[in-house]
Every structure is written in structure tokens, then in C-alpha cells.
Amino acid sequence: MKGFWTSICIFTVALCCSGNAVSDTRWYDQFRWASEYLFRSQYLSESDLTDPGFWHTLGFEANGTFSSGQRDIATVNAQLSLWCLKNYTRRAPVFDGPSDCEWIPKNFFVDFHLRGDGKLNLRLGHPELPFGLEAPVSTNQTIRQLNTGRDLGLKLDWGFGANGTIGRWNYQTLLGRGSGIRYKNDADSYSFTGRIGNNFDYQGFLPAPGVGFSLFMAELRTGKDATSERWRVAVDGVTYHGPWGFMGQLSAGETNHRSTLNGLVEVNRLNRAGNWIGYLQWKSFNQETVAKWQRANSIILGVEGELTDILTLSAQVERELSTFAGPNQTVLDFQARFRIER
């Protein structure tokens, strides 16, 4: 819970620092507010003997900018979620067991605009790692996921970094604690992530077209006084041809001095109204061991549809073709997301 209270402190400090800067308007008029409820169910063919797992999420979000005189001075993004699992097998390490509830500060950060033209901002808090397709693609509360979590060992981290947009290019960096969602860190860990790309200023289920180049170096906390060393370089790209979208990511590096090579390819298709999207993914993880290379490959078919302004339904089936350990599974996911914005 220390991370949660740190988030609240950062949020409060940002409000206090900016309070006298908005004399012509109330500070909350400059904020967007959202609340959401998610119901997610996952079934693993070889692990869930009879019942699938359930995941309920209650989320609250605030996003707003504080301004002074002729410029914006800080932008706050606060996402706080209550995650409750029941019999959920594949879960984040932050949970104590398959049935557990946790308050999670997700993308919870402040961007201090050091320059008024958007070319240099200082980000402080708990953001997503700016690596590969995770930067332009929004995977927040979607069952569709990219390689980042498994490839890097983290998806979010506590830390700070510079970001900005210069012409057609956007850059993001983050120096983090290497401890992921938990703020608590009893190991000598860190993470550094950086990305430069030209699909800028936007995260979407279908991202802006462009390319990106990323770097990741870390000593990740794996337990009390235990770390794992990793580094990665990656290239990613997104392009569209009419209703068809294509995106891919290739990363290479080492985990504990063993070579690794990971990739993702996705083909997606949009309907004419733009509210239904189907996608086909291929994910590949390849890790060198003493004797041979281990490989884990899977194919994923999914669909997401916005039924109304507040309801999004999604479903996905994943077939594992090979795994590092354990049997090949078929994984079924279903999610309903209610979201109201003000």
C-alpha cells in the first residue's frame, strides 16, 4: 500500500503546487473524470479443472492540466483500480493468491512541462514502460496484450524520466525502481527504458502508424535481495491499408547473460463504422539455455466491439503451440467493460 499512498502524495503535491495558477477557473474544470467497471473471465484448458477464473475491476481516473499565464505547467494522469480475483490462475505477481483483492495505482504520474512548447517534460510517478508497441498501443484494461510484460518482466514501474515531441518525433525515457507495481523495493534493482518513435502523442487500441526504436536495461527485483539482469533493444512498426492494420515488434537481448529473441506480429481488421475490430496475433519467445534454445509460441484470435458509448465487449482465444514449461494450453478470455467519462 506504500505505492498507493505515494501516488496520492504526488497527486496532492501537484494540485497544491498548481492551485494558485488557475485563478480564472476552478482546477477541476480542467479535469476529465472517468469511472469504469470490468468483468473478465479466463479459462485455461489444462489448469482450470471445472470453473474459469473471474477478475472484477473498479477503476477511477482523472486527467487534467494545470496552466499559468500563457502556458501549461503540469499534466496529471491518475488511474486507481480495485482489482479482485476469484480462482484466477494467470495473474500479476502483486496478488497473494488466485483469490485476492488489491488497490492498484496504474498509470499514475505527473508530467511537469519544463518547456512551454512540448519538447521537454519531466514525468514522475508510475507510468507504463515506454518500450516497443506498448508506447503507441493502449493495452490498459484490455484482454489483448503485447509482449512487454513477459519480455521485460515489467509493464509499469515507479520512477522518473524525460519525454517530449519534437516535430514528427516523440521520445520517452524512464528511470525506474525495477520493482513493478509494488513501490516497496528491498533489492538493489533499477530499470531504464527509452523509446523514440514517430507515432506520437497518442495511445489507442489501434495506434497511429509509424516506427519506434527502444532500449531497456535493468536489474529487476525478483525477490528479497534478489535481482535478474536484463537488457533489450527493439524495433516496432505499425501501418494500415484501408480496413487492414499490420503491426510488429522484434526485440533481442539477454536475460541473466543468456541470449533472448522475442517477436510479435498482428494483423487486424476494422469494420466501416470503426466500432468492431478483429485481430490475429503470433507471439514468439526464444531463450538460450545451457543445452539448447527454449521456445514458446502462440497464436491468438480476438475481437473487440464498442456496443454503446459505455460498453465494450471483447473475447479472445489463444492456442499455445509450445511453452518453456508445462503443457500447451488453450486460453479463453472474455471481458465486458463499462466506462463513463465526464
Binding site: D24, N63, Q70, R71, G116, D117, G204, P243
Partner: protein
């Protein structure tokens, strides 16, 4: 090997779906469009105003009153589903205000297109560019020749370029391919919407910030 799924779970799925659909079909707030669908037009601001040094954002609520105002001004209905809070950017070069930037969405060939608009303080078009589009004829309407048709025009002048129903051009410029005419009309409607929304939602706050009035 696939195992048997508990029959209780099989029953729970359609029940849950039914409840969700019923909930979704209930009266919904008019301001419920996802705000994350619009991109911050920072790159566009830098492109429109190369000498800019600062920008200040103003959040404003776009609601049914704005749509009613727009329909009254135009005399016809138009695509307008962007209710909720939207951002207007006031751009400065050193201490001097130089223009306004706003991003708006329009129905495209596949999903929504997104355009960034730059206006001057007379609410005339200064420039525009696509931020996102899968429309086939996008490049035709992003040429400087077509931009020159719009730059410097105000609401009334832009409105006079469109047919009575707003769906086609009164006169197609020679440089514009016939197939691109419908998209060109969409771009002009987007400009009209941008100007009208700026007038209704942000005029008062802008005049307070600028200490001078916006002309029309």
C-alpha cells in the same frame, strides 16, 4: 486435454451477457464518448506555428447545446458524436498570442478520421492537417492547393462552399480529383464545426485570457 466446464458456468455466461446488454441499452449520458480517442496535437501545433514558444490548453464541455447551435447556424444536421470534454490550445510566440489549435473527428472511409485545425483570432482557417485517417483520398485534400482554398476563410465563406445539404461542393476545384470531392466536403464541414464549437464553448474564456475580443 480439454476438460468439462461446470454447467453452472455455462448458464452464467448468457445471464451475464443479458444483464450487460440491458444495462447498455438503458439511457446513457450524452457526454460518454471516450476522451482518449483524440490525440494531443503537439506535433501539429509545432508544425502550424514554427516560432511558437508556449501553448495553454483550455478544457471545454461539448454538449447538446453546442450541436443545436451548430445545426441552427448550418440549417442541416451533420455527423456530431464528440460529446464530452475537449481541448482548445492557445498558442504563443514569446509573449504574443498567435493562434488557436483544435483537434476534431469526422467519419472516414474506415472508422473516424482526425483533423487538427489552426485558426486565427478572427476565427478564420489558418491551416489544417490530418492526424489520423484511413480515407483513400486523404492525400488529395491535404495538398497545398486545396488548403489554399480554405485558408483565410471564415464560417460564412466556408459554408458558402457547400451545397444546401452540406454533402458536396458547390464548385469542385480543378486540382481536386472527382473521387475526392466527398472527402473535401467532409473537411469543410469539419472546419465549420471547429469554428462553431470554438465560438460557443471557449469564446468567453479566450476573451478573458487574451483581453481582446474574437472577431467573426
Amino acid at each position: 486435454m480439454m476438460r468439462m466446464v461446470n454447467p453452472n458456468f455455462i448458464l452464467k455466461i448468457p445471464c451475464t451477457l443479458l444483464i450487460l446488454v440491458l444495462l447498455a441499452a438503458s439511457p446513457r449520458p450524452a457526454e460518454a464518448i471516450a476522451y482518449c480517442s483524440l490525440r494531443d496535437p503537439i506535433s501539429a501545433i509545432q508544425n502550424f506555428f514554427p516560432n511558437m514558444t508556449d501553448y495553454r490548453s483550455f478544457l471545454g464541455a461539448v454538449d447538446l447545446n453546442v450541436r443545436d447551435h451548430l445545426q441552427a447556424e448550418l440549417g442541416y444536421d451533420m455527423h456530431f458524436n464528440e460529446f464530452g470534454k475537449h481541448t482548445l490550445y492557445l498558442v504563443y510566440a514569446d509573449e504574443t498570442p498567435v493562434g488557436l489549435v483544435q483537434a476534431r473527428t469526422e467519419k472516414g472511409d474506415w472508422g473516424l478520421d482526425e483533423l487538427a485545425w489552426a485558426l486565427d483570432f478572427d476565427l478564420r482557417v489558418r491551416d489544417f492537417r490530418y492526424q489520423r485517417s484511413r480515407s483513400r483520398w486523404r492525400q488529395e485534400v491535404e495538398t497545398q492547393a486545396f488548403k489554399n482554398e480554405l485558408i483565410g476563410k471564415n464560417f460564412e465563406e466556408l459554408k458558402s462552399m457547400l451545397s444546401n445539404d452540406g454533402m458536396s461542393l458547390i464548385s469542385r476545384p480543378e486540382h481536386l480529383a472527382p473521387e475526392a470531392e466527398q472527402l473535401a466536403a467532409t473537411v469543410i464541414r469539419s472546419a465549420l464545426k471547429t469554428i462553431a464549437v470554438t465560438q460557443v464553448v471557449w469564446r468567453e474564456r479566450l476573451e478573458c485570457q487574451l483581453a481582446f475580443g474574437l472577431n467573426e
